[in-house]
């Protein structure tokens, strides 16, 4: 039996399609209770420092409650996922500012590059996470991070009586940091700090998909002048600031 060029190519195509589809059980409509991080999305944040009050701690408090981040009591060993930083221009040309600093979920995160166990990783939607099951607590990432966004759990954490059971606590000896409240995002929500800022604070935090040109955050970033902290390092942080 002889086959012409066209039918050979056609047969090859059918076989290739079969190979691709056969293991692709995911093509079957997924049940409603399954969600997956999408590589089409890039979560980002815009913080309008002109509306951030120095005395307000709504975001930091909300973060501690949501993510079971207890206060150790020793300033050198306290764990911060988000913290308030006061800016003061020595020449007095710019007004004093107060702003929350959290993990910037960089596009090129140095913490991930230095991690020897691949515990730190970038999720498909751009969120930088620590896989606590793999972290050995070497703290390379803490040294690499220019934003001081990471903390080591030095001692056995206290479990608050009203702990949020949706977020596991972290055992002694791992490094933890802001997750952009990944459990809330996966349920279609937004980070606890953003929600608290809108409710109890100045409404200066905006969260959304910066890959989507029609999202509110993308529009705002296009319209107003924003910057990122230490933009000179070329890490492409995804937390943008307005007014500094």
């Amino acid at each position: 039996m002889t086959m012409d060029r066209r039918s050979v190519l056609g047969l090859g195509g059918v076989l290739a399609a079969g190979l691709v589809l056969a293991p692709g059980m995911r093509l079957v409509a997924a049940p409603e209770n399954v969600t997956e991080a999408s590589d089409k999305r890039r979560w980002g944040m815009l913080i309008d420092t002109t509306h951030c009050d120095a005395a307000c701690t709504a975001c930091t408090q909300a973060c501690r409650t949501e993510n079971n981040v207890s206060i150790v009591g020793d300033p050198q060993r306290d764990i911060h996922w988000i913290r308030k930083v006061d800016l003061h221009d020595k020449d007095g040309r710019k007004p004093d500012r107060s702003l929350p600093v959290l993990c910037n979920h960089c596009e090129h995160p140095p913490c991930v590059h230095v991690c020897p166990t691949e515990a730190s990783f970038i999720r498909k939607d751009g969120i930088v996470l620590v896989d606590m099951h793999r972290c050995i607590g070497c703290r390379y990432c803490m040294i690499a991070c220019p934003y001081k966004a990471r903390s080591l759990v030095y001692s056995k954490p206290k479990v608050p009586p009203d702990a949020n059971t949706r977020v596991p606590i972290r055992a002694k000896g791992v490094v933890e940091k802001c997750t952009f409240c990944v459990h809330r995002i996966d349920d279609g929500g937004e980070p606890a700090c953003v929600e608290a800022c809108r409710k109890d604070g100045g409404g200066s935090m905006l969260f959304g998909d910066i890959n989507d040109p029609n999202s509110e955050i993308s529009k705002r970033i296009r319209e107003v002048s924003t910057t990122t902290i230490r933009a000179d390092l070329g890490l492409k942080p995804r937390v943008h600031y307005q007014g500094i």
Binding site: N33, V34, R123, D131, P168, R170, V182
Partner: protein, 116 residues
Amino acid sequence: MELLRSLAARIGVAVFVTLLFVLAVGLPANVQAGPPQLEEPKGGGECIRPEGWMRRNHMDFLKHQRGLTVREGIRVRSESLAKCAECHTSHTRFCDRCHNYVGVAPDCFECHLFPE
């Protein structure tokens, strides 16, 4: 001599009987003969997988789901660890009893807030 021998025999019998008694009364109370008898979870319907399969494979299953959830962001809500807690309402009653029996110490509950 005869007296000494019979005395020794009597002591031997007494020790033997005492030992038998200790074994008969003391052991079942302290040392379990077979695997732990587990109670059925109340309120829940069927488990997400057959019971026998779960007994053998839950550790690999949980680890697999863990990898998918943490690293790929795939959340299967009906098969999450939190969902287990809806029927298996206590890790001391449902997890630790077997783990202690077979001598394994998984550290899941150092971080995951599972009902006691």
